[in-house]
C-alpha cells in the first residue's frame, strides 16, 4: 500500500463505502476483508477475515489474549504462507479456497497445511458468539438420531477432541448418508479434503492445537473442550446443517 496509485484506489473505495471504515485495518488496497463465513468462496491473494466479535467477547471460554494471538498471529501466518504458495504456482491462481481444499492432493504439503489453516480458522471464528443461541429442531433431531441425546453427543465430541493426539481438529460432519458424525483430523486437515478418508461436510469444529487453549487451560484440553460449549453459536451450526444436507 505504499504506491500512490494503490493509495488512491484505496481512498476511492473508502469514499464510496463509508460504512466499512471499521474494517479498515484488514483492508488491502484492492479488496475488502471478507466475513469469516465467506472465506471458502474467496480466491487468492487471501485476506485475514475480521473477527465477528471483540477479542474479549468469548471470555466464558477463551481469553482475549488467546483470541488476539490465535487470530492475529496464527491465522494470519496461514494466510500469508498460503499466499506465498499461490504466488509460486500458476495452477492456484484464481482458485477458490473451497476448490483448493477439495483437490489438495494435487499440491505441495504447504498448500494442504496453509489452505487448511485458513479454511479451518475462518470457519471456527464464525462458530462462536457471546450471545446465547439454540439449535434448530432438525439439527437436534439429527444429533439425537446419531447419539441419543445432545448431552451424549457433547460427551463424545469432547472425548474425541481429547484423544486426538497432537495438533488437530474435532468436527461434526454431515456424511453422504445425511447423518451427523464426529470425526477428527490431524494438524490443519479438513474433512472436505480429498486426502481425508473419513470425510463429510463440517458443520461444527473445534481447534485442539495447544495454541487454542494453552494460556488459560495449559495441559487440560478436556476442560477447554467442555467450556467451549458456552460460546458455540448454535444458530450458525444449524444453518450449516441445513445447507450441508441439501
Amino acid at each position: 500500500m505504499n504506491s500512490l496509485i494503490s493509495k488512491r484506489t484505496f481512498l476511492s473505495y473508502l469514499a464510496a463505502t463509508p460504512l466499512v471504515i471499521g474494517a479498515l485495518q484488514f483492508i488491502s488496497p484492492v479488496k475488502f476483508a471478507h466475513a469469516a463465513a465467506d472465506a471458502p468462496k474467496t480466491s487468492g491473494p487471501f485476506t485475514l477475515p475480521k473477527l465477528p466479535y471483540a477479542t474479549n467477547a468469548l471470555e466464558k471460554a477463551i481469553d482475549a489474549q488467546t483470541m488476539e494471538i490465535h487470530h492475529g498471529k496464527h491465522h494470519q501466518a496461514y494466510v500469508d504462507k498460503l499466499n506465498e504458495e499461490v504466488a509460486k504456482d500458476p495452477a492456484l491462481k484464481g482458485k477458490m479456497l473451497d476448490e483448493i481444499i477439495g483437490e489438495v492432493s494435487k499440491y505441495p504439503a504447504a498448500v494442504r497445511n496453509n489452505a487448511g489453516g485458513h479454511w479451518n480458522h475462518s470457519f471456527f471464528w464464525n462458530l462462536m458468539t457471546p450471545e446465547p443461541t439454540t439449535m434448530s429442531d432438525e439439527l437436534k433431531q439429527a444429533i439425537e438420531d446419531s447419539y441419543g441425546t445432545v448431552e451424549e453427543f457433547k460427551k463424545q465430541f469432547e472425548e474425541a477432541g481429547t484423544k486426538q493426539f497432537g495438533s488437530g481438529w474435532v468436527w461434526l460432519v454431515v456424511t453422504s448418508e445425511i447423518t451427523v458424525e464426529i470425526v477428527t483430523t490431524p494438524n490443519q486437515d479438513n474433512p472436505l479434503m480429498d486426502v481425508v478418508e473419513l470425510g463429510g461436510t463440517p458443520i461444527l469444529g473445534n481447534d485442539v492445537w495447544e495454541h487454542a487453549y494453552y494460556l488459560r487451560y495449559f495441559n487440560k484440553r478436556a476442560d477447554y473442550l467442555k467450556s467451549w460449549w458456552n460460546v458455540v453459536n448454535w444458530k450458525v451450526v444449524s444453518e450449516n446443517y441445513a445447507k450441508a444436507k441439501l
Partner: protein, 208 residues
C-alpha cells in the same frame, strides 16, 4: 515393569529465562507424567510389558493397531532424553572435539547444523520434534524432523539431540514465536556433553 517419571536433572528454575519454571512444571509434571501414566495403562495385556522402553516403543511403532500405545511410549522416550539435552549455561558453539569434527564434515559445521536444525524445527508442521540423528548404517549425522511422538530410533537411526516443538514446550515463554524458542535452545540450552555421550555410545539398534 511399570514405567516411571524420572526427576528433572536440575531445578525447575535452572533454565530461566530461556525456559521458565512454569513451563518445566507443566511440561515435566503434567505432560510427561501423562505419557507415563497412559503408557502403563495401554501396555497392559499387549505382551510388550516385559520389554525395555526402547524395544516396546519400536514394536508398538511397527504394529499399526498399537498406534495409541506407541504415541505414549515414543513421548516417554523423547522426554526422558529431552530433559538431559538441556542444562543451565548450555548452548553455544563449543562442542566436544570428535563430535564437532563430524558435524563439520556432515553438516557444514556448527553454523550449518544450527541453520538446518532450526529450520527443521520451524517447518515441522504441528506437534513434533526436530533432531540431530546418526544413521545407523552409514554413521553419518543428519537433521531429521518427526511428527507427534515419533523419533529417529523408530526410523532406524540414533537420536543424538532432539528439541520438542509441541506448542506446550514454548507457548508460555514464546507464544507463537517458535523460531525464537529454537534460537534460544541452540544458543543457551543445549547440553552438548550429553549429546557427545550418546555420540560416543554409537548406533542405538533396537530389535523389534
Amino acid at each position: 515393569m511399570a514405567f516411571t517419571l524420572p526427576e528433572l536433572p536440575y531445578a525447575y528454575d535452572a533454565l530461566g529465562p530461556y525456559m521458565s519454571k512454569e513451563t518445566l512444571e507443566f511440561h515435566h509434571d503434567k505432560h510427561h507424567q501423562a505419557y507415563v501414566t497412559k503408557a502403563n495403562e495401554l501396555i497392559a495385556g499387549t505382551g510388550l510389558e516385559n520389554l525395555s522402553l526402547e524395544e516396546a516403543m519400536v514394536a508398538a511403532f511397527k504394529d499399526k493397531s498399537k498406534a495409541g500405545l506407541f504415541n505414549q511410549l515414543g513421548q516417554h522416550f523423547n522426554h526422558i532424553h529431552f530433559w538431559h539435552w538441556m542444562k543451565k549455561g548450555g548452548g553455544g558453539n563449543k562442542l566436544p572435539g570428535k563430535l564437532e569434527a563430524q558435524i563439520t564434515k556432515d553438516l557444514e559445521g556448527f553454523e550449518g547444523f544450527k541453520k538446518k536444525f532450526i529450520e527443521a524445527g520451524t517447518t515441522q508442521f504441528g506437534s513434533g520434534w526436530a533432531w540431530l540423528a546418526m544413521d545407523n548404517a552409514s554413521g553419518k549425522l543428519e537433521i531429521v524432523k518427526t511428527p507427534n511422538g515419533e523419533n529417529p530410533v523408530v526410523l532406524g537411526k540414533t537420536a543424538l539431540l532432539g528439541v520438542d516443538v509441541w506448542e506446550h514446550s514454548y507457548y508460555i515463554d514464546y507464544r507463537n514465536a517458535r523460531p525464537k524458542y529454537l534460537e534460544a535452545f541452540v544458543d543457551s540450552l543445549i547440553n552438548w556433553d550429553y549429546v557427545a555421550e550418546l555420540y560416543e555410545k554409537g548406533p542405538m539398534k533396537i530389535a523389534a
